[in-house]
């Protein structure tokens, strides 16, 4: 793939975004007790035979968690993989429930914002519908 189609990640931009939301996002990540109580509040999880990929905790750990673990060194492939998790697996209905107050929608929105800053986002035209992440 050419560099125009697949430009390098803007590490500075990612670093600034991670730093701006660090306190809140790290607090949320550290407070997730893996209790799985959020799972059954997610209609996507319930309507997909309880596929663990649709658990709210899975979605934030594998998006925001990966962003902070890898930091600005994260690759475009990682971000592309994340696209499916934060857009296909979540519709941001904001109905998920966490007993300790982790704001899952804010975390998913943050991850989407980082992806958007790198030009990664869903398209809703014919080309978008053909994309493999769907």
């Amino acid at each position: 793939m050419s560099e125009i189609q697949n430009p390098p990640v803007d590490r500075g931009q990612i670093e600034r975004a991670l730093a701006r939301h660090k306190d809140r996002m790290k607090l949320y990540l550290s407070h997730c007790m893996h209790c799985t109580l959020c799972a059954e509040s997610c209609f996507m999880y319930m309507s997909r035979d309880k596929d663990p990929q649709y658990m709210p905790s899975y979605k934030v750990i594998n998006s925001v968690g990966v962003l902070y673990r890898k930091g600005p060194g994260i690759g475009r492939d990682d971000l592309q993989k994340m696209k499916g998790i934060v857009w296909r697996n979540c519709v941001l209905c904001t109905r998920c429930y966490c007993p300790v107050g982790v704001d899952v929608p804010a975390m998913i929105a943050f991850a989407r914002g980082v992806l958007r800053s790198q030009g990664i986002h869903p398209d809703f035209d014919e080309q978008g519908a053909m994309e493999s992440w769907l």
């Binding site: 701006r20 904001t94 704001d103 804010a106 958007r116 809703f124 519908a129």
Partner: protein
Amino acid sequence: MIVASRKSLDEILGLLGSCKKVLVLGCGGCTSICLAGGQREVRDLCAELDARVRDHGGGLTLHELTIERQCNETFFADADALVKDYEAVLSTACGAGVQFVAERHPALPVLPALNTAFVGFDKGVGWYEENCRTCGDCVLGETGGICPVTRCAKSLFNGPCGGTRSEGTCEVDKTVPCAWFEIHKRLKGQGRLALITKVRPAREWENQTRRSVIQEPYKARYAKP
């Protein structure tokens, strides 16, 4: 889904007036899906504005940001941090989103880049058709699932009006099917034609005030003391 379409570049530039530093705020919700106000459309709009302004001597700085929805405060963290640096926000959300941003930042001009058209369904990619005017008094259960408020030129609750053409189109526009002719066909096919004779009280459209919905289980939570 809420459907919108973009205003002309001239109208948008007129709204921007003398603003020199503008945050162009995209919406990842309905207007993104109807291909009017998502991240890609924001990019295209900025490119067009930039080109037009440059042709006339330049002087407009645009910053693009798309948030997930402009009608829910959960998604405003990044936008809130940015707006103070700009003279105006040009929003590509629906009318609700524009007002939400304007309420949140009352000191700042928040300008619509789109015209919110209707609630409708997808006919194809980039092609949408109006089906609901959110009148708040749904009669679809008695009209075979065809909305007379939206699809009848006179929005008649009791029809047809007598202006149905022989081929089943509307006297107002012969290319448009008469909603009540369609309702008659649909109800007849369902064996429920008697419903068409039911007289529905006239709807008072005037003097509508802003509507609000609180679902039953949440009424106690939002009750005013």
